[in-house]
C-alpha cells in the first residue's frame, strides 16, 4: 500500500509546551484514519499541524513525500478540511462557498466551476439549496455544505475535525455513511478527529489514541483490535463503552 501521509517523530503544542510528542504513523491511500483521545489531548492540535495551520514543534509531516508548504507552492493544497464549526463563509451563498476555492486557486475552467460545485453539493444531498446562506441552514446541512466545499478541489486527503459535534445521533450517522460513500466512490484518504465511538467503529479502518496525561500516543490499530488487545487499559476502557453508547443513541434515534 502507498503511504499518502507520513508523520515522523512529530511533537505538537503551543508555545514551548508540547501537548503530544513522539507521534509516528503512516496513513495509507483510501484509508479512514481516526485520531482519538481524551479532551485536551491534542487531537485537533495534531490536525492543525498536519494541515499547516500551526507548525509542528519537531519532526516531519509529509504528503506524498513533500511538506505541506512544498505542496502549497505548487498550487492547490493536497487536502480539504471540514472544520468543527463548518466554517462556511457567512457572507456567501452555499454555491459561492463551494466555487470560491476554485476561483481563488484558478481550479478548472471558469465556466465549469458552477457545474462542478453543483455536482459536489448534489453528492452531499444539498441539490436545490445552492442559493441559501449558511445562516439559514440546519447544523447538519451546514456540515454537509462544508463537506462539499472541502471536496471542491478534488483533494487526495480529507480532514474531518469532529464532524458529528453538535449533530443529533441520526444526522451524525448519516454523515458517517456519507463520508464512507465518498471514500469508496472517490478513493480519497480520510483523517478523522473524533471521540464519537459510533463513528469510530462504523467508518474508521485504523485509529491512533493520544493520551492527554502521558502526552504521547499509546495505541495504534483498528478499533476492534484495540478494544480487545490494546496495551493501555485506558484505551480498552474507552473503546469498551461502545455498547452502552449505542443503546443510548438508538433510544434517542427511536
Amino acid at each position: 500500500m502507498n503511504s499518502v501521509i507520513t508523520i515522523d517523530e512529530v511533537s505538537v503544542g503551543y508555545g514551548m509546551r508540547p501537548v503530544q510528542s513522539g507521534i509516528s504513523v503512516r496513513i495509507e491511500k483510501s484509508e479512514i484514519f481516526a485520531i482519538v483521545g481524551d479532551s485536551g489531548s491534542g487531537k485537533s492540535t495534531l490536525m492543525k499541524a498536519m494541515t499547516g495551520l500551526i507548525k509542528a514543534q519537531s519532526g516531519r509531516i509529509l504528503f506524498d513525500g513533500k511538506t505541506v508548504e512544498e505542496r502549497m507552492t505548487n498550487g492547490a493544497p493536497p487536502f480539504g478540511i471540514l472544520f468543527q464549526s463548518g466554517a462556511l463563509w457567512s457572507s456567501m451563498t452555499v454555491l459561492e462557498n463551494v466555487t470560491m476555492p476554485m476561483d481563488l486557486l484558478d481550479y478548472s475552467a471558469p465556466a465549469a466551476r458552477a457545474a462542478l460545485a453543483r455536482f459536489k453539493l448534489a453528492l452531499v444531498g444539498l441539490a436545490g439549496d445552492e442559493d441559501r446562506y449558511p445562516a439559514s441552514l440546519s447544523g447538519g446541512m451546514r456540515k454537509r455544505a462544508a463537506l462539499a466545499r472541502a471536496l471542491a478541489l478534488d483533494p487526495a486527503v480529507l480532514f474531518l475535525d469532529e464532524p458529528s459535534a453538535g449533530l443529533d445521533p441520526l444526522s451524525a450517522r448519516r454523515l458517517d455513511e456519507l463520508v464512507k460513500t465518498l471514500r469508496d466512490g472517490l478513493g480519497i484518504t480520510v483523517v478523522l478527529v473524533t471521540h464519537e465511538l459510533e463513528s469510530l467503529y462504523s467508518i474508521a479502518d485504523r485509529m491512533i489514541f493520544l493520551d492527554g496525561e502521558a502526552h504521547r500516543p499509546v495505541a495504534l490499530g483498528s478499533p476492534a483490535q484495540l478494544a480487545k488487545s490494546a496495551d493501555s487499559s485506558k484505551v480498552r476502557e474507552f473503546l469498551a463503552r461502545r455498547g452502552r453508547m449505542s443503546a443510548e443513541q438508538a433510544e434517542v434515534i427511536r
Binding site: 495551520l53 492547490a76 487536502f79 466554517a87 476555492p101 481563488l104 486557486l105 478541489l153
Partner: protein, 325 residues
C-alpha cells in the same frame, strides 16, 4: 461526624463539610465520614478528590512588575504583527494594480457602498456642527476687532486642513473600523479565516486588502463632502450672527483655503482611511476566538484608531511645517 436519620442537606451544608474534610488527612477523613448518609459521603469524597480541594493546581496572580512586563510584551507582539500586516499590504499593492491579487472587485464595491451610505448622515451632521462651533468661537473674538469676515477664513482653513479629515476619520473608525474588527474577529472564531489559510490564500490578501483599498478611496470623497458641510455650518452661523452674505462668505472662504490646504487635507483623509481599515482588520485578526474576543477587538480597534489618527496628524503637522506648506 454523625447525622440524624431525618437530616436533609443542601449544597451549603455539603460545602461546609467538604471544607472541614479538606483539613483532614485521608485516614482521618474516612473515620470522620462514618455515619454520614451514603449519598452525601459520595458527594464529599468527590469534592475532596478534585485537584483544587487537594491543594493542587493553585494559581497565583503575577505581581505588578510582572503584569506590566507581560502587557508590554503583548503590546510589542501586537505592534510587530501590525508592521508585518502593513508590509504585506504594501507588497500586495503592485499585484493589485496588475489585477493579479486574489481580491474580489465585488467585495471592494460592497465595502465602499456599505461604509459610505451609512456614514453620510453622521459625517454631515458632525461637520455642520463643527463648522458652526468654529464660527461661533471665531465670531465672538473677531467681532471685537471688526474682523468678522475672517470667520470664513478660520472655518475654511481649520476644517479643510485639520478638523474635517480628523473628525471624518474618527467617525469612520467608530463605525466602519469597528465593524471590520468585529467581522474578522467573528470569522476567526468560526474558523472561516483558517478555512482561507488552508487553501493557501493569505487572509491579508483576501480580507484586509479590499477593505484598505475601499477606505483609502472612500475617505477623500467623504472628506470633500464633510468640508462642504463644515463650510455650510460656518456660513449658517456667520449669516445669522454677523450679517455676512453668502456670496461674501463664499468668496472669503475660496480665497483662504487655497489648493495646498485642500491637497494636504485630501492626502490626510486617504492616509487616515487606510489606517482605520488596517487597524480594524489587524484587531480582528489578533482577536481571541470567543465572544469576549470579538467585543474587545472592536473596542481596541476604535481606541487605537483614534490614537493613531491623532498621532499621524501630528506627524503631518511637523512635516508640513518643515516643508513650509
Amino acid at each position: 461526624m454523625e447525622a440524624a436519620d431525618d437530616w436533609r442537606w443542601g449544597s451549603v451544608e455539603a460545602a461546609f463539610l467538604a471544607r472541614i474534610l479538606d483539613e483532614l488527612r485521608s485516614g482521618s477523613r474516612e473515620r470522620a465520614l462514618a455515619g454520614v448518609p451514603p449519598e452525601l459521603e459520595k458527594l464529599l469524597m468527590l469534592a475532596c478528590a478534585s485537584p483544587r480541594a487537594a491543594g493542587a493546581g493553585a494559581t497565583t496572580l503575577p505581581g505588578f512588575v510582572a503584569r506590566v512586563g507581560l502587557r508590554a510584551r503583548h503590546d510589542a507582539r501586537g505592534l510587530r504583527a501590525f508592521v508585518s500586516l502593513l508590509g504585506e499590504v504594501v507588497l500586495l499593492l503592485p499585484r493589485f494594480a496588475m489585477a493579479r491579487a486574489k481580491v474580489r472587485g465585488a467585495e471592494v464595491l460592497e465595502v465602499l457602498a456599505e461604509s459610505s451610505s451609512r456614514a453620510l448622515v453622521i459625517v454631515a451632521v458632525v461637520n455642520v456642527l463643527m463648522g458652526a462651533i468654529l464660527a461661533f468661537v471665531g465670531a465672538v473674538q473677531l467681532r471685537r476687532f471688526g474682523a468678522g469676515i475672517y470667520v470664513a477664513d478660520l472655518v475654511g482653513i481649520a476644517s479643510v486642513r485639520e478638523l474635517t479629515p480628523i473628525i471624518t476619520a474618527i467617525v469612520l473608525a467608530g463605525r466602519t473600523g469597528a465593524s471590520f474588527a468585529a467581522r474578522i474577529a467573528t470569522m476567526q472564531g468560526n474558523e472561516e479565516v483558517d478555512a482561507l489559510t488552508t487553501l493557501g490564500v493569505s487572509p491579508v490578501e483576501f480580507l484586509v486588502l479590499p477593505r484598505a483599498i475601499a477606505l483609502t478611496l472612500l475617505m477623500p470623497m467623504l472628506y470633500v463632502y464633510g468640508c462642504a458641510f463644515a463650510i455650510v455650518g460656518g456660513l449658517w452661523v456667520s449669516a445669522s450672527t454677523l450679517d455676512i452674505s453668502a456670496a461674501a462668505y463664499w468668496a472669503a472662504t475660496r480665497g483662504a483655503i487655497g489648493g495646498a490646504n485642500f491637497a494636504i487635507g485630501g492626502l490626510k483623509a486617504a492616509v487616515f482611511g487606510a489606517l482605520v481599515a488596517l487597524l480594524g482588520c489587524h484587531c480582528g485578526l489578533q482577536a481571541e476566538r470567543s465572544a469576549a474576543g470579538v467585543g474587545s477587538a472592536t473596542t481596541r480597534a476604535v481606541v487605537v484608531s483614534i490614537v493613531g489618527i491623532i498621532a499621524l496628524d501630528a506627524v503631518f503637522a511637523v512635516c508640513a511645517n518643515a516643508l513650509d506648506v
